[in-house]
């Protein structure tokens, strides 16, 4: 369909008609401006002799200092398919980055199924690909990450709880492991936005209102920490292609009487994704009573 809005019940997404990029999400009675883009950090390449000359590699994430992440594409080609049970926007950003945004008739979430690779490996620097969501949330340098899928921990940008911190690596130094969830909260509007993962990743909030998650990387030089080879995974004679999903949830931060809290919804989704139902296939069975 030639539309830029997908809606099903109380869940919806709006795409920018000019760029095909995400503009707005609707969930839990809230309409929130959310922009999303794919970018990559260029991995630093050095001789590994001194700490400041360490290459980004299998052990460490070390983007080129003082260089912003590069936007993969300013526009996306979009195809919309709208059905009764699922509606989706298929976006193509370039030859090696694409995504499908899905909403389901009975799911209180928005799925972002990304596909990245083969990452070009002809340049000197590796590419460390991220997806970034930008909102107008006033987050006061604070975001929340889970700890091995258990409790959520408060993270404050450029800060550590028990000592005064001066970060030499402002990007990597603010990255944390995300086992299943990364959240930001805007107290002034009582809003919470979370990104749930289908696998452990690294993520951060490098500016107020932003969330980003690393989804794929190649590092074309060894970082000399022990592995002894570049991180450039190959499958079928090409660079590896990674496919996975993020699940976005927005809703009130504080519990309202009689309503399921946003955090409880997120926990339900995380459980269903970690222990997903098994789909098994058998030949047709002749006995009709078998199905019942």
């Amino acid at each position: 369909e030639d539309v830029t809005e997908l809606k099903s019940g109380g869940v919806g997404v709006v795409l920018d008609p000019n760029t095909g990029l995400l503009q707005e999400v609707i969930l839990n009675g809230q309409t929130v401006k959310v922009a999303q883009e794919f970018l990559y950090y260029e991995g630093f390449v050095g001789d590994n002799e001194e700490p400041k000359n360490r290459s980004s590699g299998a052990y460490i994430f070390r983007p080129v200092p003082d260089k912003d992440a590069v936007v993969v594409a300013e526009k996306a080609q979009v195809k919309i398919f709208r059905g009764t049970i699922v509606a989706e926007a298929q976006q193509i950003f370039n030859e090696w980055v694409s995504q499908t945004i899905r909403i389901y008739d009975q799911e209180n979430l928005i799925e972002f199924e990304w596909l990245v690779g083969p990452i070009p490996n002809q340049d000197a620097n590796g590419k460390e690909v991220i997806t970034r969501f930008t909102t107008d949330f006033a987050t006061k340098s604070t975001f929340y990450t889970d700890s091995n899928g258990r409790e959520m921990l408060k993270r404050v940008r450029n800060s550590r709880p028990t000592w005064n911190l001066t970060l030499e690596e402002p990007v990597a130094g603010n990255y944390y492991p995300i086992t299943s969830k990364l959240s930001i909260v805007d107290d002034s509007r009582d809003l919470q936005l979370s990104l749930l993962t289908d696998r452990a990743q690294g993520g951060s909030s490098l500016k107020d209102g932003q969330l980003e998650m690393m989804i794929h990387r190649n590092c074309l030089h060894d970082d000399a920490f022990g592995v002894g080879e570049a991180l450039d995974e190959i499958a079928f004679d090409k660079g590896l292609v990674a496919r996975g999903s993020h699940f976005l949830v927005v809703g009130p931060h504080t519990n309202k009487t009689g309503e399921i809290s946003t955090t409880a919804q997120e926990r339900d989704i995380a459980q269903r994704k970690v222990l997903d139902a098994w789909v098994l296939i058998s030949p047709a069975y002749n006995d009709s009573s078998y199905l019942s």
């Binding site: 299998a58 052990y59 195809k79 398919f81 059905g83 009764t84 049970i85 699922v86 989706e88 298929q90 193509i92 694409s98 499908t100 389901y104 008739d105 009975q106 799911e107 596909l115 083969p118 920490f225 022990g226 592995v227 002894g228 080879e229 995974e233 190959i234 499958a235 079928f236 004679d237 090409k238 292609v241 496919r243 459980q271 269903r272 222990l275 997903d276 139902a277 098994w278 789909v279 098994l280 296939i281 058998s282 030949p283 047709a284 069975y285 078998y290 199905l291 019942s292």
Partner: protein, 179 residues
Amino acid sequence: WVDLNALREAMGVMQHHDAITGTEKQHVAEDYARILQGGIDECQFIVNSALSEIITGENNTGDNPTPKLPLNSCWWTNVSSCSFSENQDEFVVTVYNPLSRPVTKYVRLPVLGQAYEVQDPAGTSLVVELIPIPEPVLKIPGRQSEAKVELVFKAADLPPLGFKSYSVKKKSGNEILKE
């Protein structure tokens, strides 16, 4: 229990720090994948025997258990490919819920046909959709599939720690025309 050992051993190996952090050499990563898949394959036999026994009510234990109902996993659905759903005109999809509460699962299977009928365990026809597979997925290196669409249906209210089975049938040209 014996069939579980290969996966147990694989998990033991995976606890080595380079498997956890992903800092192993490429050929070691490939060996880890080989060990893990070997373990998963052996567990597939347990899943087959147990679910087949629950479904058919026949005991398959013994030295040489032969499940009456072969249950296949589609290992290539991560690239939207499944030789079984693509090549069979009629098949049964069994969806098992490992959680202790009811859940709904949206089943997606790559298919080659133009129209399908899916019936739930009560024999009721479900709403089904055929959604085009995104073009970049069709081009993933190593993907060996002719499927350009995925069949989507809703497996609603799967019982806790239980399953439901759905019959899937490709509609003939005449049936499509008649509709």
